[in-house]
């Protein structure tokens, strides 16, 4: 009897003992990934999973330089209309299909022509592919495209097995087959995605876990609690407000990198009937709004100082940031003067729509009280995100608190928002000169020309302020102390090459 009780106790203790199996790395994500097909997927967390499962033609360094992955070298022709890539010769897909130039051609074709593909616009500059040898391929472009390498360093450049893709069609995402260091093992929606080590990976020695398990844990407190209790090895997007708690825990280390994205307030300048309002019609009001903000204080109050203040599409540490327009200091007098000049000496109302989640609401409450000192009376309309997005897209708003997760190439942060026909230009801002400048930056492979174009566009945008930028999020990862070799990247991805776990 007592023996039985003892065994039971031992079993129970064994079951509740925390340390996970040595060979499994457990990563907590903020949300569940969507469909696991690089050509169809849209979520940020999905990209985190792909980083270990689907290799790309090129990768980036922490400093956002391009570096070889499946392509060993690449060259643009003189006129920028041809891109030739040489490919690794020791790569096979998870199903054994060899990786070669034909496979790349099939992948480009799939991204461009599969009905459900989300990658069409990203690869729209490619008008033809020419297999030059077993491991050499040329892309023919309609016009020079400076953004192409960045696209090939993301989902559009992820290579899936042509054999598996042809078999599965649009259902490929239920059982994805790529060529990365880990292959797909199983997925239980909203519970876990499990990858297992791919023994035939060309660089398998660099990857030290037998399996990697991704678990969606949306609540930041619970995510951190799981790390602290030892159930999880690594969590992404630690809340800035939890930073202190994580740093004071001896068993936890914290890593961070300023993201490529931004957050701000988009004004409806000309989107439908509601675009015809004082805020949309008079840039001086938008300028006043920007001057009334104390970005440093916002960062301190809402984000414990962990994020980066910002006033442009790119964060201040980006090489594309225009130093002609540093983050402005708060200037209430100037804001008041601008309001008076615009005909509102007694102040003016402004309705801002905001996602109904904690951080945006906190942010906007701080903003609300700040700008009130200049005479801007902000009323907040909180909306559930899908509704906010639909209203914004339809022009049913005056101002909207929204952001962008950011892209490796600067074009991805600005062109589609600020050009007249831009796909996500919900402000419907339109300026012929900005269009010309941003198009030029997109089609030149000369970095100096690009930089100059972006600076010139910024001069106009800084005056017009269709989007008042406020801050740039910092990716914060918290890791169990036993994890070694983790490198933070500004794209927020988790790269596992060289990452190990001490067994203790």
């Amino acid at each position: 009897m007592s023996f039985n009780k003892l065994t039971l106790a031992a079993v129970l203790m064994g079951a509740t003992a925390m340390g996970a199996q040595a060979a499994d790395l457990r990563i907590a994500l903020q949300s569940d990934a969507d469909v696991l097909d690089p050509d169809q997927s849209r979520t940020f967390v999905g990209r985190i999973v792909y980083t270990s499962m689907c290799d790309k033609l090129v990768d980036i360094t922490p400093d956002l330089e391009f570096t070889p992955q499946l392509a060993t070298e690449w060259t643009f022709s003189e006129d920028g209309k041809q891109l030739t890539l040489k490919l690794r010769e020791d790569v096979v897909f998870h199903d054994g299909t060899p990786f070669d130039a034909e496979a790349v051609a099939a992948n480009i074709d799939r991204s461009q022509n599969m009905e459900a593909s989300r990658r069409k616009s990203e690869l729209s500059s490619i008008v033809g592919t020419e297999v030059l040898g077993s491991h050499e391929i040329r892309f023919d472009l309609a016009s020079a495209d400076a953004t192409l390498l960045a696209q090939l360093a993301d989902r559009a450049g992820m290579m899936v097995s042509p054999t598996a893709a042809a078999e599965a069609g649009a259902d490929f995402g239920l059982n994805p087959v790529c060529s990365g260091p880990y292959k797909f093992k199983e997925r239980v929606a909203q519970d876990r995605i499990v990858l297992e080590k791919f023994a035939d990976y060309y660089n398998a020695d660099e990857f030290n876990f037998d399996t990697v398990t991704y678990l969606p844990i949306p609540d930041t407190t619970v995510r951190l609690a799981n790390l602290q209790s030892g159930d999880i090895d690594l969590i992404e997007r630690l809340a800035a407000t939890d930073l202190e708690q994580a740093e004071s825990d001896a068993g936890i280390q914290v890593e961070s990198a300023v993201s490529l994205g931004y957050q701000g307030i988009t004004f409806n300048v000309n989107n439908g009937e509601k675009g015809d309002n004082p805020w949309g019609n008079d840039k001086r009001l938008r300028q006043a709004f920007s001057y009334a903000l104390d970005r440093a204080a916002i960062n301190q109050v809402v984000f414990n100082g962990a994020f980066a203040e910002g006033n442009q599409s790119f964060p201040p540490n980006s090489p594309w940031y225009s130093t002609d327009f540093p983050v402005p200091a708060r200037d209430i007098e100037k804001a008041k003067a601008l309001l008076a000049e615009a005909g509102y000496p007694d102040g003016i109302d402004l309705e801002v729509q905001v996602p109904n989640t904690t951080v945006p609401l906190q942010l906007m409450q701080v903003v609300q009280s700040m700008v009130s000192e200049a005479g801007i009376r902000v009323s907040l309309t909180s909306k559930e995100f899908a509704t906010l997005l639909a209203d914004q897209s339809a022009g049913d708003y005056t101002a909207s608190q929204i952001g962008w997760s950011g892209r490796v190439d600067p074009d991805g942060n600005i062109h589609q928002f600020m050009t007249t026909d831009g796909g996500i230009n919900d402000s419907k801002f339109s300026n012929a000169e900005v269009d010309t400048l941003l198009d030029r930056a997109r089609t030149s492979n000369d970095q100096a020309v690009r930089k100059e174009s972006y600076n010139a566009a910024r001069a106009i945008l800084n005056d017009e302020q269709p989007i008042v930028y406020v801050y740039h999020q910092t990716w914060i990862w918290a890791l169990d102390d036993a994890i070694k070799g983790f490198t933070p990247y500004p794209d927020g991805m988790i790269r596992l090459a060289g990452v190990t776990k001490d067994e203790g």
């Binding site: 079951a15 239920l174 969606p216 602290q228 159930d231």
Partner: protein
């Protein structure tokens, strides 16, 4: 008995039909475009249009509804807009999880609620009664999410006794599966335990003051036998009905509990589906829940009849 069950089943059909129309209509009233919600940051108009066509979102709403009903009758609940997984498969994955959670929570509720109710009825007016009442009231008033977070911080982070969240299937590792689910089941069970305790107490009080209990005592039965055999058995009928109704509340409570403890169950599935405007998933879940609820009530009625012989003749 059989005709009684058949009659109840027939009544269930129009009920389920009405529920499905209601939910379908409600969803269409929600602002927000499912395809846009799905697209997130990438809004290629051509792809959006393709998806609207593919999921037949351009059809008139009645046509969309009847297409859904037609498919559902053939056992096809459609596929999730978000993950492309068949809805039936998703429900099949999630239902056992929530059933396990609900069952464990119910066990907590019954084990705590009924003895506490009997005790406080028998010792009416004593300290035990007051303490039980205060505890019950607290159980009802403490919000699920607060208790959940507090337990995680205390039991998992500070004492490191139980895992903070997650789920392990029963089939994979039964002991760990139950261990992981202890905290959420407790959190979910406490509020129900309080309700059960209060109802058990009042049912028992009613029965304890009746004539036959006095008779039982007068003929010299031991008190224990009077309470459990004579009084409790008769107080049980309303408690059984309540327990069945509470199962509905359990499913609703599971929505919140599953969010806190990151349990991939039914509740989490429905919340995420609503936010993503994943219509097919929401419809499927509501259908299954409605059927489940009707079945639970039917079982309660059957149990009622079994417990009360007088009803058998009618």
């Amino acid at each position: 008995m059989l005709s009684f069950i058949m009659r109840r089943l027939l009544i269930a059909i129009p009920t389920i039909f009405l529920i499905s129309i209601f939910v379908f209509a409600l969803q269409k009233l929600l602002p927000g475009d499912p395809v846009l919600a799905m697209a997130g940051e990438e809004r290629d108009p051509e792809v959006l249009e393709y998806l609207r066509e593919k999921y037949r979102l351009n059809d008139p709403i009645p046509v969309q509804y009847f297409t859904w009903v037609g498919n559902a009758l053939r056992g096809d609940l459609g596929i999730s807009l978000r993950t492309n997984q068949p809805v039936l498969e998703l429900i099949g994955q999630k239902l056992p999880v929530t059933i396990q959670l609900a069952t464990m929570a119910m066990i907590f509720a019954l084990v705590i609620g009924i003895p506490a109710g009997i005790l406080s009825a028998v010792k009416k007016g004593s300290v035990t009664d007051y303490v039980a009442n205060v505890v019950a009231l607290s159980g009802l008033s403490i919000p699920n999410f607060w208790l959940g977070i507090m337990l995680i911080l205390l039991v998992s982070v500070k004492w490191q006794l139980l895992p903070a969240s997650g789920y392990v299937p029963l089939s994979e590792d039964p002991i760990r599966s139950i261990t992981v689910m202890l905290m959420p089941a407790f959190v979910l069970g406490t509020a129900l335990a309080a309700t059960l305790m209060r109802h058990t107490r009042s049912a028992m009080l009613g029965v304890l003051s009746s004539d036959y209990v006095r008779t039982a005592r007068a003929k010299g039965l031991v008190e224990r036998r009077v309470i459990l055999k004579h009084a409790f058995r008769n107080a049980l009928a309303p408690i059984v009905t309540l327990t069945a109704l509470l199962f509905g509340e359990l499913i609703a409570g599971a929505v919140l509990t599953e969010q806190i403890f990151t349990i991939p169950g039914f509740g989490k599935l429905v919340v995420d589906a609503v936010f993503n405007r994943d219509y097919a998933v929401v419809q499927g879940i509501v259908l299954v829940t409605a059927v489940g609820f009707i079945v639970m009530n039917l079982l309660a009625d059957v149990a009622y009849v079994l417990l009360n012989p007088r009803l058998r003749k009618q």
